[in-house]
């Protein structure tokens, strides 16, 4: 490792060769402003196109200003980050960007969490001397994501997420010069592209150009309707991130306050998607054991590895990109949909409410879930199992609108029966969690023995692709884990090539799993936030009295009273699904 010395703002700093000026300055506590730059650290995503030019600095001896995010340090370099030349250039560049931006900050969905707005405040912009034509685009409303490209600043972080990280390849720069914009090919709308609605573009967009579809107005209306029973389910990852929207440290668990807030918002029943996660384990775990059992008996037709199916972004991905492999994933529906299905049958019977009088709402860290609710196969006579889904961010906004002081809310418990869950259900929120939950149950069901140690450390972590093996009493089960669709693609390519050795693979579309979902409070490019949420999830798990899905008494009761046994005909009808070849259907036909 070669070290070099340089001077930044008259202070000497020593850095490794290859370090950029931006990082060298950071070492000195100098925060050079950036807009397009994004570095998600351990997630191995670094985006430094050098496009916005806000981070320019003066390097002595250099003809023009250098972008700090992309320029590597040299020995004896002398850098000025706030000379008059730099300050003027930086502000002028920002004024230019603002001159092509709609001034609707007061009513913009990103107001208050917008990086561009922050920058304008920081630079003290008071007027825009450069006025002229503004880019105007027709807004693009898809079932999950809204694109308002008038607000795009061409940072192209979304492109990096969509192409490099997710390998979905929907978003890219089109047209040239002032007309250039990020869009699907031929400027089609998202709904006519291969978009998986993973929402990672939304998660990294610095402005209001990419946002999720807003369902809060609909929700307020339903809550106010006396003829409707409004049921809410909250995903595991929400409780690990919601607090951030109220200024709490990332990684603060707010389960109890969240439940209290939901109750005060007027939901009739506050339930937990974790319950459905336990149910998923019963179905998916049983399916895995079934496939494994047949495989071990020498059945050549059995499809292995089995892939998890609880992530709707991932489901969309393989339907578009690997439709010929759609018999490999588990047929189990996602926890969101299992919950909706059970709520509008089993629970509706209990509370003697008609299907069309019940509204099932989900709070999700996810954007793709909004789309998932709208899939036809998840409705009965046009009535969807889950009526709609709101994001963690939307929930935070609703709480604020309803005049609640979130910090002083008491801790309350979920309602029963669909609010009771185990630690296994909680860890669905992080990469590695679904498979760990499945292993806890599958091991005990397969071996008939109690687990000595519930934590499977070998399945945890933040690496994009991980593998581990678990000893099922003499049978070695090989497990693969991928988060990020680009990583998933690698495992799928291996399966296709016949090179995969795994029995089961867990896949989540978002970095870190649901905790890094597109509907979460914005991490603004700070990967430590995602890691803190992961820690919180495992903390919630270890504090739970019951940590294995099959020991959830309400799950046991659900099977006894209603479903029979896992993978029964009724379970199949209500809790399983089938997949489509969408390469032909949606994309090529308009």
């Amino acid at each position: 490792m070669e070290l070099i010395k340089l001077k930044i703002d008259n202070r000497t700093v020593e850095v490794e060769k290859g370090t950029t000026i931006y990082h060298a300055a950071k070492k000195l506590g100098i925060e050079i402003p950036t807009l397009c730059y994004m570095n998600l650290g351990d997630l191995k995503i670094e985006h430094k196109p050098g496009g916005c030019r806000v981070c320019v600095v003066e390097v002595e001896g250099r003809r023009n200003l250098a972008p700090a995010c992309a320029t590597e340090c040299n020995e004896d370099m002398v850098v000025h980050t706030h000379s008059i030349r730099v300050l003027n250039a930086r502000k002028t560049v920002l004024e230019l960007i603002l001159s092509d931006h709609p001034f609707d900050c007061l009513i913009c969905a990103k107001s208050g969490t917008c990086d561009l707005q922050d920058m304008a405040i920081k630079m003290g912009v008071r007027n825009i001397p450069y006025q002229g034509e503004k880019s105007t685009y027709k807004p693009d409303f898809s079932p999950a994501i809204i694109r308002e490209m008038d607000k795009c600043i061409m940072c192209r972080r979304c492109e990096t997420m969509c192409n490099d990280f997710q390998t979905v390849g929907v978003l890219s720069g089109v047209n040239r010069g002032f007309e250039s914009v990020v869009a699907p090919a031929f400027e089609r709308d998202l709904d006519h592209s291969e978009c998986t609605y993973c929402g990672q573009c939304v998660a990294v967009c610095p402005t209001g150009a990419l946002t999720e579809v807003d369902h809060t107005t609909q929700l307020i209306r339903d809550l106010a309707d006396p003829d409707k029973k409004v049921v809410v389910q909250t995903a595991p990852a929400v409780r690990a991130a919601l607090g951030e929207a109220f200024g709490l440290e990332p990684g603060t668990l707010v389960t109890g306050k969240m439940v209290a807030a939901l109750r005060r918002l007027g939901f009739d029943y506050v339930f937990d998607t974790d319950f459905a996660a336990d149910l998923t384990i019963m179905e998916e775990g049983t399916e895995l054991l079934d496939r494994l059992g047949r495989f071990l008996k020498g059945d050549k037709d059995v499809k292995l590895p089995m892939l998890t199916s609880c992530c709707p972004g991932w489901v969309n991905f393989f339907e578009y990109h690997f439709p010929d492999m759609r018999d490999i994933p588990s047929t189990a529906r996602s926890p969101q949909q299992m919950f909706g299905s059970i709520a509008k049958t089993y629970f509706a019977d209990i509370v003697k409410t008609k299907r069309d009088e019940m509204v099932v709402v989900s709070v999700m860290p996810c954007v793709a879930k909004k789309y998932e609710c709208t899939r036809e196969e998840f409705s009965v006579d046009g009535n969807p199992d889950v009526d709609y889904s709101i994001s963690t961010r939307e929930l935070a906004m609703l709480i604020k609108r309803s005049n609640m002081d979130f910090g002083s809310l008491p801790d309350e418990d979920f309602d029963k029966p669909l609010g009771e869950s185990t630690g296994a259900g909680v860890i669905f929120g992080t990469t590695g969690g679904v498979i760990e939950a499945a292993v806890r149950t599958a091991y005990e069901l397969h071996t008939g023995k109690d687990l000595e140690k519930i934590d499977f450390e070998q399945l945890r972590g933040i690496e994009g692709i991980r593998s581990a093996s678990v000893d099922f009493d003499g049978t070695e089960i090989k497990i693969g884990i991928a988060h990020g669709l680009g990583n998933a693609r690698k495992l799928l390519d291996d399966i296709k090539a016949g090179k995969s050795e795994y029995h089961a693979i867990e896949i989540m579309a978002c970095p870190g799993g649901c905790i890094g979902g597109g509907g979460q409070p914005l991490h603004h490019g700070n990967p430590d936030i995602i890691k803190a949420r992961q820690k919180a999830i495992y903390q919630e798990d270890s504090g739970k009295p019951i940590r294995k899905s099959h020991e959830n008494p309400y799950i046991v009761k659900l099977y006894d009273d209603f479903l029979g046994k896992p993978m029964s005909e009724k379970a199949h009808h209500l809790l399983h699904t089938h997949y489509f070849d969408r390469k032909q259907k949606d994309v090529l036909l308009d």
Binding site: K48, R85, Y130, G173
Partner: protein, 592 residues
């Protein structure tokens, strides 16, 4: 006897193909097939007077030849040995006919190195290239020199990249040669995008083998076995001739495996560009070839370290390549004897604008702008006054009278506020409004910006809008300050050469013609009389004879007046097209 007919794009547009056919027919009819060979060549450069026919060995140079002239040329010149006097060039000064091009002002000061074979050989016949010392340099390098020695020769020659940047070619090769990599690439940048420029196109149309030969040498020096020519698809003739040249070179064993028994393997492929100006920038060019969006990326890494498909790549311009075989044939020392201290050799320029001799010229570095414009170019059209000359393509600067004696080289042009660029040279006269000229160039850069970085994407648009405001007489002094600040910031912060130079036309016109900006802003007046919103056409009563020519030609019928009566213009309807001024024979229309 050889009759060389120009087959460049310009002359072909003036029916030189038909002329060629007619000459062949006449030769056949006269039974001269064994004595007279009619050959299509590349561009002679003197496009103003095309189509050109040159007869050798007596070097008779016919200009503005039409297909119908073929019979006379063959009957008179070929059969009777008499020159066709009326087709010889008429010297505008002493009004004498000149038969040998060497005696013409246009050619006197030119030295043709890169263009040496253009107008001399049939570009579609490899034998003619071979007869003109073709592939000799390649043979010498491959069989007698080590890559290190060959690179050293290139460094010693002082050749600098002709694409615009002026980076020393030998040094570029040396960097790529030292980077280890299993696969390396040589790329020929034939994405000539400056409006009105046709240097590279003419070389490829007139002498494609010289580029191929140089690419092989480049490949040998850096250890690359593959060459790619990135050429815009709207150069069909250049593409056609390149394809023929590649096929012929392969057939002769001058491309492909084990070239000339040297053990060195090299082959060339053509890649088509869609005509984006920014793809002349080497990283953008490489991304375009990779199938990515044609936009530049931050350097380093330089292509020599990580270029096409992430492999070490040398990108050189067509004209640079065309110089290379001659350097090896005649030696670096010979090459350094031409040019200035830091800029060796010659430069090809596409001379255009308000100048008598429009065309393609190659001049030694160090020649002055005055020599180029007034001797080679034959001075300003219609006896008007010289105003400005813009060098370096759309992002060059506008130079004035005071720069006319500046010797042309990379560094002098840069110091004067312009640049060499790839060799565009546009001359402007007293009728050109310099604010409008700057606006014209910005219109181009706004169109051609890739949109990646904000200063270029938005800044150039705002520059254009400010200039537009000025030409409409709606700007104030603060706008002028903003214009300058914005220009400086765009230059200082843009990602690639396009944005870093696009404000040059603005800054140079502000530096050299500030009084024009002030007139537009403070007096709402356009001194050149071209900004439509700032002028009006009026009829001078004393001069008007009532001929009705203006009224009859006015497209919006806004001129009233009876025969033999004074005419008047309705200013509220006038669209300021200038038709009345043009049609008036009595000097009775003036611009106010």
């Amino acid at each position: 006897m050889h009759m060389l007919v120009c087959g460049g794009t310009g002359c072909r547009a003036s029916a030189s193909e038909m002329l060629y056919e007619n000459l062949k027919k006449e030769v056949k009819e006269q039974g001269l097939e064994n004595d007279v060979q009619v050959i299509t060549t590349g561009c002679f450069g003197f496009c103003e007077k095309g189509p050109i026919v040159k007869v050798i060995p007596d070097n008779t140079f016919y200009v503005s030849v039409e297909p119908e002239d073929a019979g006379e040329i063959v009957a008179e010149h070929a059969l009777k040995g008499r020159q066709v006097e009326r087709l010889l060039y008429l010297d505008p000064v002493d009004k004498k006919r000149i038969s040998d091009s060497k005696g013409m002002g246009f050619y006197k000061k030119q030295i043709r190195i890169a263009l040496r074979n253009c107008g001399l050989i049939d570009p579609e016949n490899i034998d003619e290239y071979l007869a003109a010392d073709g592939y000799e340099a390649m043979g010498k390098v491959l069989l007698e020199m080590s890559p290190e020695d060959a690179i050293q020769e290139m460094i010693d020659s002082g050749l600098r990249g002709r694409g615009g940047g002026g980076f020393p070619t030998g040094v570029k090769w040396q960097i790529a040669s030292k980077v280890s990599g299993e696969q390396k690439y040589v790329v020929c940048n034939a994405d000539e995008g400056d409006p009105g420029a046709f240097m590279d196109r003419s070389i490829l149309e007139g002498d494609p083998h010289s580029v191929l030969e140089a690419m092989v040498i480049n490949g040998y020096c850096i250890g690359a076995t593959k060459g790619l020519i990135y050429i815009r698809a709207e150069y069909p003739l250049a593409i056609k001739r390149l394809k023929i040249a590649i096929d012929q070179a392969r057939e002769y064993g001058l491309l492909g495996k084990d070239i000339l028994g040297s053990g060195f393997t090299f082959d060339v492929e053509i890649r088509y560009g869609a005509g984006a100006f920014v793809c002349g920038e080497e990283t953008a060019l490489i991304h375009s070839m990779e199938g990515e969006r044609g936009e530049p990326t931050f350097k380093p890494p330089f292509p020599a370290q990580s270029g096409y498909l992430g492999k070490p790549t040398n990108v050189n311009n067509v004209e640079t390549f065309a110089n290379i075989p001659v350097i090896y044939n005649k030696g670096a020392k010979w090459f350094t004897s031409i040019g200035t201290e830091k800029s060796k050799g010659t430069k090809v320029f596409a001379l255009a604008g308000k100048i008598n001799n429009v065309g393609l010229i190659e001049v030694p570095m160090g020649i002055t702008l005055r020599e180029v414009i007034f001797e080679i170019g034959g001075g300003i059209k219609d006896g008007k006054k010289f105003r400005s000359v813009q060098t370096g393509g759309p992002s060059g600067g506008c130079l004035t009278e005071k720069h006319l004696d500046t010797p042309i080289d990379f560094d002098n042009l840069l110091a004067a506020g312009s640049m060499m660029g790839s060799g565009g040279m546009i001359v402007m006269d007293e009728d050109d409004c310099m604010v409008s000229v700057a606006k014209f160039y910005l219109d181009f850069t706004v169109e051609e910006s890739c949109g990646k970085c904000s200063p270029c994407r938005i800044g150039n648009k705002r520059l254009y809008e400010l200039l537009d405001k000025i030409t409409r007489g709606q700007a104030d002094k603060e706008d002028l300050d903003n214009l300058r600040n914005l220009s400086m910031v765009i230059r200082d912060t843009s990602l690639c050469g396009l944005g870093q130079t696009s404000p040059n036309p603005v800054l140079s016109t502000m530096d050299n013609f500030m009084e024009e900006y002030i007139a537009h802003v403070e007096e709402q007046r356009c001194p050149a009389g071209t900004c439509k919103e700032l002028i009006r056409y009026e009829i001078i009563p004393e001069n008007c004879v009532g001929c009705t020519a203006c009224a009859r030609n006015c497209p919006v019928n806004c001129i009233a007046g009876e025969r033999k009566q004074l005419h008047t213009i309705d200013q509220s309807l006038c669209i300021k097209c200038g038709a009345c001024l043009e049609k008036c024979k009595f000097n009775a229309v003036k611009i106010i």
